[in-house]
């Protein structure tokens, strides 16, 4: 079943590539169909999923037995919510691309390949298998930025590529070394070995080096300071649907990688370096917030906002390493649940905001927020939707961002109070830059050129309405979503509360 979900968009890509002529409507329809079919199947899996800490819907076949490579996919508490996220967002990516007509065939086949890669990266459980998808996700994104991006697209694409490839190489070397010592590429087996303390024994003195090598690849993808430099240009220059993919899903691939590969396999390293890791996450949080304050290109601002928000995930995750023993509230579990919810909440919120930023650029021809003002009166519907998502991002109660952040902070404060207080202060910076965006774009009076801008159409709102509904749903009743991962996280967190 998971394989069908994964490869269905690829079939769509094939169909698009083989379509004779240049029938754009048909191409778009096929791309949408491919994405939707996978989404429906993936969501049906969510209904069949039984909360528990084991794997479900497993498909495991020997692939290259000589080096322990299996075709191994499955869903557990950790990736269920992310598969749902891909399922919800992927049709929206296609819909957001509806206006793209130039070289449509190339565009939509790449987009469909991208979708396959995303499903694959979240469901694969053998490193080799996973790594192929991880890298495959990079290639279409690179081309889509390079071919369809804005003015600075070439540089942005190359930067993006070089950074992620260098990170991937480090990770690959690290894992190959791990394989040589342990004889397995299997995430689940590695986790078992780690829980018996064997990874540390087998790697010996190289344990920290291997940990950092593996972490490096993920570090770039998240990204975290100081390896975030590719992010803002790539997000800003990419065509809007690709920015949505980058922020909505690909940034989560890094966090997911940490939860799948680093936390269970290297718990000792997370514990040993928690101070350093927490500080870097904290720096990223502050960095993102303050740079967002200084920039005026709305997509760049959103990129830094994304840097800031995803860093909260990493902060919660690293705080777990600071656990010293059992506490009253099982803080590691609360923090990690917060991380998972934050991935989901940020995925839907950030994708929605980039979508709206794109709409604004479409109607006004500029992304510079200094050129706006008074749009609250000109585009009231747009202003409402935009502010709604911004307030979720700001962490306003009963919207998605709050539920996730309060969990992260509840857990993290009990584990690393000083760092958490600093992170809370950064929350203020987040509020300042988000309200500044609102102030610049929507308040005051519009100048003559902007006074006649059309409001966002109901159809455009309809495309992202699932995101708006989810923002409220996650905010009001996070339990629905947390239930998927609760048993899994309970087990994982027990590593840290001996």
């Amino acid at each position: 079943m998971i394989s069908i979900i994964t490869f269905f968009p690829l079939l769509a890509a094939l169909a698009i590539a083989l379509t004779p002529g240049n029938n754009k409507g048909f191409i778009k329809f096929i791309a949408l169909l491919g994405a939707l079919a996978s989404s429906v199947l993936a969501l049906s899996l969510a209904f069949q999923f039984v909360p528990g800490d084991g794997l479900q819907f497993v498909q495991k076949y020997a692939w290259i037995p000589s080096i322990g490579v299996d075709y191994f996919v499955g869903i557990d508490g950790l990736n269920m919510l992310l598969v749902i996220l891909v399922a919800i967002l992927s049709p929206i990516f296609v819909l957001a691309s509806w206006k793209i007509d130039e070289k449509a065939k190339t565009y939509f086949s790449l987009l469909s390949i991208q979708t396959t890669a995303l499903y694959g990266a979240f469901t694969a459980l053998n490193f080799f298998h996973w790594f192929i998808f991880w890298e495959a996700a990079l290639v279409p994104a690179f081309f889509l930025i390079k071919l369809y991006g804005g003015d600075g697209r070439h540089k942005a694409a190359i930067n993006f590529f070089v950074f992620t490839v260098l990170g991937s190489v480090a990770m690959l070397l690290g894992v190959v070394f791990l394989y040589l010592k342990t004889g397995t590429f299997d995430f689940i087996e590695l986790r078992h070995l780690a829980s018996q303390g064997l990874i540390q024994v087998k790697l010996g003195g190289l344990y920290p080096a291997i940990f950092f090598a593996v972490a490096l690849g993920l570090w770039v993808k998240v990204p975290l300071f100081p390896l975030h430099m590719w992010q803002a240009p790539a997000y800003a220059e990419a065509p809007v649907p690709i920015s949505m993919i980058l922020t909505g899903i690909m940034s989560k691939m890094g966090v997911y990688g940490f939860l799948r590969l680093v936390v269970p396999v290297f718990p000792e390293a997370i514990r040993e370096f928690s101070e350093l890791l927490l500080t870097l996450a904290l720096v990223t949080i502050i960095w993102g917030a303050f740079l967002a304050l200084r920039h005026t290109d709305i997509k760049r601002v959103l990129a830094y906002s994304s840097l800031n928000h995803v860093a909260y995930c990493m902060f919660g995750l690293f705080a777990v390493g600071a656990a010293v023993g059992p506490d009253k509230i099982n803080a590691p579990a609360i923090a990690m649940q917060g991380v998972i919810l934050q991935m989901f909440a940020h995925g839907i919120g950030a994708a929605g905001l980039f979508y709206l930023a794109g709409k604004l650029e479409d109607v006004s021809g500029t992304r510079d927020i200094r050129e706006f003002g008074g749009l609250g009166a000109v585009m009231p519907r747009y202003a409402f939707v935009f502010c709604f998502l911004v307030f979720s991002s700001l962490g306003l109660p009963f919207l998605a961002g709050f539920a996730a952040e309060i969990l992260i902070f509840s857990g993290a404060f009990a584990l690393a109070p000083f760092h958490t207080v600093c992170a809370l202060l950064a929350l203020l910076a987040t509020a300042v830059f988000l309200l500044t965006i609102i102030q610049r774009i929507f308040t005051g009076t519009a100048d003559d050129a902007k006074r006649t801008l059309p409001d966002i159409s109901y159809r455009d709102v309809l495309y992202i309405s699932p995101l708006l509904v989810l923002t409220v749903w996650v905010g009001v009743s996070p339990s629905t979503w947390l239930a998927f991962s609760d048993p899994f996280i309970q087990t994982l967190s027990s590593f840290f509360t001996p």
């Binding site: 698009i16 692939w63 075709y71 086949s109 495959a136 930067n159 404060f413 102030q439 308040t443």
Partner: protein
């Protein structure tokens, strides 16, 4: 249904915030215009008022009872994050006051805002505000209280910036949100600390709640956890920072006067009667935590006393009618804090009633003053500068009389409601800390003085403006009259029948000390007399120097500039903040240069490989990710330039599909 039956669940309390929520959702989605929106909002609030009166009646006479209804919001690894509602005297009195005053202000707004095209939005925001405010009051969970606290902050932001086409309003809204958010972060730290230390968010939970003795005892046992405070005191300190932000105490008071950019009914409801009192309410709700560490009671009373004095001084030198009232609000909120802090020191648990009593009376007379000011501003053609008013009394008799009733209550003139509540604050300060007492007393004297000054400017002499002064419609004046009656007689009734202090504290301690009563009377009458002496006969106008300014000179100018609080922030916090942002940006661009250099190096290595090293050799080593990727990237460049891209991508896609199919085949 027996209202006084305390055995059944109090889940129905949730209806109090839910009713305005329903109205808010209706207004948000259907956005009706004009009267209909007002009717929806008012009807919903009237239902809430019904439930509130039930809560009030239910607690009347049962002041020591506390009933709760709790439920789980999130459960993680067996740990619960819980929500709940609580019914006790504090809840009952607060919800009744908020709903009652809210309803009057809603009715007033229906007339006041009737010319505004976005009236539907206005009532939508007001309803959202009521959801937050009422929810905050009924919450039995620190987390739930925080949630509603934030909703209230959002509503305040939306309403201050309601006329967002004015840049000043937009700026004020942002300033209010961010300044109160500084406090909110303190609150959040307190909340996280409490959760960490006790494992619960609930105030009352059958003996294991945060405010119940077993937890308090455990918290007190952990001594000197932060700056000499014990476990409870540390939590209380952070919660108090939240209260300081919301209630405009020093040094976070700067947002409240600017918040007057919002429509006047908003100022009355949110920035005078209810929301700004939420900070005081928070301290009252969490009072056992404050009581557990005496140092915190001192902190609360000192901060309150300084704020009261500071704001009263600044109020003397303001000319905007709403700004004067705003500073007066800050000052009175300070006195409420004194009431809580000194009350706690003097009376222990019962001290909570001292601050709360003043909160309740203040809500009535301050809402009255703001609504009256709104009516006067309306009558004078939207003029807010008191130097351009004058002689209003003869032209707007009802509004003026109501305003004067509010004024004497605020001045604590004998036998008005303000007199009784302020007397109790002074009394508790008298018995606990004489410096705080004298500061508070002096602030009260100033209060009577600046209110008299303001009334002289507005009501006496000849009209100095340009508009045509006229009385407001009945929809606006009737709420004024109702509030005026309450402002005048509430204290007397309480004194004669069943004392509010008794109701709020559950103990029958209330008393009077002759010395303090005499001082109170002297302060009130003396302040008013002083004001009359200076201003009753003085020449006033926009180009006439204020008589006190003539006498004082520079110090008065400093007061006019609000003691430079904003400038001080500008020169310190903002500077630091901007410097940080600028330096980080500079650093980022340095990093960018490095990155570009790095990329150039990598790309040229790639080109070297693809151009000079045998391609087939590299192809065979496909396992090495880097080489392949870089090789590809450089080749793709060539393809793009040669226009082969279409063909190449077709091959790539086909290849990927073949690999995918092979996966599946091999897999079986």
């Amino acid at each position: 249904m027996n209202l006084l039956d305390f055995s059944h669940s109090v889940g129905w309390l949730l209806w109090i915030p839910i009713c305005p929520l329903i109205a808010g959702v209706i207004l948000a989605f259907f956005n009706p215009t004009g009267k209909f929106s007002a009717i929806v909002a008012i009807a919903a609030l009237a239902v809430s008022l019904g439930f509130s009166l039930k809560a009030f009646a239910g607690t009347w006479g049962y002041e020591t009872h506390t009933l709760t209804h709790n439920f789980t919001w999130i459960q993680i690894a067996g740990v619960n994050l819980e929500f709940g509602v609580v019914l006790n005297a504090l809840t009952g009195s607060m919800v009744a006051m908020v709903c009652f005053i809210g309803l009057l202000i809603f009715i007033y707004s229906a007339s006041y805002m009737s010319h505004d095209a976005r009236m539907g939005r206005f009532f939508c925001y007001l309803s959202i505000f009521m959801v937050g405010m009422l929810g905050l009051v009924v919450s039995n969970s620190l987390l739930l209280l925080f949630i509603f606290w934030e909703i209230v902050g959002l509503a305040s932001y939306l309403l201050i910036g309601f006329w967002f086409h004015k840049p000043s309003a937009a700026a004020a809204a942002k300033k209010a949100f961010i300044t109160t958010r500084i406090g909110d972060l303190g609150f959040l730290i307190g909340l996280l600390w409490a959760f960490k230390a006790t494992g619960t968010f609930l105030f009352f939970d059958g003996g294991s709640g945060l405010l119940e003795s077993s937890q308090i005892v455990a918290l007190v046992a952990s001594e000197n956890v932060l700056w000499g405070l014990n476990g409870a005191g540390a939590i209380a300190l952070f919660l108090f920072i939240g209260a300081v932000g919301k209630s405009g105490q020093l040094p976070l008071h700067v947002w409240l006067p600017d918040a007057m950019e919002g429509p006047t009914p908003v100022s009355a409801l949110i920035h005078a009667a209810t929301m700004v009192a939420a900070g005081v309410f928070l301290v009252a709700r969490a009072f056992p935590l404050f009581l557990a560490d005496e140092a915190m009671l001192h902190v609360v009373s000192w901060v309150g006393a300084f704020t009261a004095l500071f704001a009263a001084l600044v109020a003397i030198a303001q000319y905007d009618i709403k700004r004067i009232l705003a500073y007066s609000t800050v000052s009175q909120l300070g006195l409420m804090m004194v009431g809580l802090g000194a009350g706690g020191l003097a009376l222990g648990e019962g001290g909570v009633s001292i601050g709360m009593f003043h909160l309740l009376t203040h809500a009535f007379f301050k809402a009255l003053l703001f609504l009256g000011a709104g009516s006067i501003i309306h009558g004078c053609g939207e003029e807010q500068d008191i130097r351009l008013m004058g002689g209003v009394f003869s032209k707007m008799k009802v509004s003026s009389l109501a305003y004067l009733a509010g004024t004497i209550a605020l001045c604590a003139f004998p036998f008005t409601s303000g007199f009784f509540s302020k007397d109790q604050i002074l009394l508790s300060a008298w018995t606990s800390n004489s410096v705080v007492f004298w500061i508070s007393a002096f602030a009260s004297l100033l209060t009577a003085f600046y209110m008299t000054r303001q009334c002289c400017y507005v009501f006496l002499g000849k009209y100095r403006g340009e508009g045509h002064v006229h009385e407001s419609p009945a929809l606006m004046t009737v709420p004024l009259v109702i509030l005026a009656v309450f402002a005048l007689i509430m204290g007397v009734i309480s004194e004669k029948k069943y004392h509010v202090l008794h109701y709020l504290s559950g103990t029958d301690f209330h008393q009077h000390e002759t010395t303090v009563v005499i001082i109170s009377v002297i302060i009130a009458i003396g302040g008013i007399a002083l004001g009359l002496i200076v201003y009753a006969k003085a020449k006033m106008g926009i180009d006439v120097v204020d008589p006190v300014k003539r006498a004082l000179g520079t110090p008065f100018t400093l007061l006019e500039k609000r003691l430079l609080a904003d400038e001080l922030y500008e020169a310190t916090v903002f500077k630091l903040w901007n410097a940080l942002a600028i330096n980080l940006t500079a650093f980022e661009s340095i990093l960018n240069t490095l990155v570009d250099a790095l990329t150039a190096v990598v790309v040229s290595i790639g080109n070297f490989f693809s151009n000079t090293v045998d391609r087939k050799l590299i192809d065979k080593v496909t396992f090495d990710g880097t080489c392949t990727r870089i090789y590809k990237s450089s080749r793709i460049n060539a393809f793009i330039q040669n226009g082969f891209l279409q063909g190449y991508l077709r091959i790539l896609t086909a290849g990927a599909v073949v690999i995918g199919v092979l996966f599946l085949v091999f897999a079986r």
